[in-house]
Amino acid sequence: MRLPLLALLARGPAHGYELKQDLELLLGSAYPQPNVGQIYVTLGRLEKSGLIEGEDVEQSSRPNKKVYHLTDAGREALHAWFEETEDEPRVRDEFFMKLALAPQTGLAEQIALINKQRRQYLNTMRNLSKLAAAENRDNRIAHLLIEGAMLHLQADLDWLERCQEELEELE
């Protein structure tokens, strides 16, 4: 959450609740709603590390709100963020260990494990399809997020299929 909040502040000063709304608008209903408490905690940490600064703004009949802006160090951190490439997604190693170790335990069957895992992925895929159908058609960013998740899941399903092909031959 740290860098996305910094990135939102690159546009101009904002207070915590505005940032929450900006995130929701950008990412659509698909993205798990950011918790406003979490946003305030993150903003506090960013301020402590000197990446943003907050100013109290008086409000009549309501408690003061704190408006944050990016510092030079914050801008620098954002530059570094965009400069870096990200790590590759990892193979679901916990499932892989189950699959690899099942035969010698005599406690589970590999094909049964694969079938069970596939059912879960397919159900998740179905939920993603429903999310995509419910999401505003014009929100491209939100649709790309869902599509990315679906393609990852598709790859996981393809890999399960490969496992099943290989392991069924051995039976």
Binding site: M1, N115, L122, R126, N127, A132, E161
Partner: protein, 242 residues
Amino acid sequence: MLRAEGLVKTHYGEGAPAHAVRGVDLSVARGEFVAITGPSGAGKSTLLHLLGGLQRPDEGSIWLDGERTDSYSEARWAVERRKAIGIVFQFFNLVSNLSVADNVELPALLAGVPPKRARAEREALLAELGLTGKERSMPGELSGGEQQRVALARALVNHPPLLLADEPAGSLDSKGTREVMRLLSRFHGRGQTIVLVTHDARLASAADRVISFFDGRIADDAALDGTPSRKPGTSGVLELRD
């Protein structure tokens, strides 16, 4: 609505015989949307062809609406496919020298529907599928996604109780795939029974039941209820990590 028992089909070509379907029992209820997935070469298309009478099983039987089809002639199957079973294929199989309108109306006219009604049906379906204005186009002038929608209109023009779809998005891009998925879901929502063969899990997830097909056999048969599991599931997949 559709039942199969002990289906076996072996292809004899060059080389070793290919055991495409090796003992399949299957039952599809009215209104169900069933997807059959599996790796290519697993025999899932052959299974669909058996269900539509495009190929005959070596062993086993198929019942359509409780009626056993063992003794059906080619001509009888052709009548079923005109009236009771709509089929869409990966490569659309439209008649290339007929216009879009004629492609859709032809099966209705062959089934003895009066021309006026065939035309009305065609107009309604093309409008529904977003193809108004394309009536006079030839199939070759359309994009893949549009051709598949024409094929869908043709398959549904006689209101068949059962729709069979063989890799309907197999030659479409991601956008075309989503379009097919949306349309199948919509027709299913109105009660259309659908059996879909696909290797695409995204497409399969539109169904409410997924059969995993491996090596000529059913490896798993799972109802997708879409109930969120206690694990992170959908939101976990979508969570952007810091």
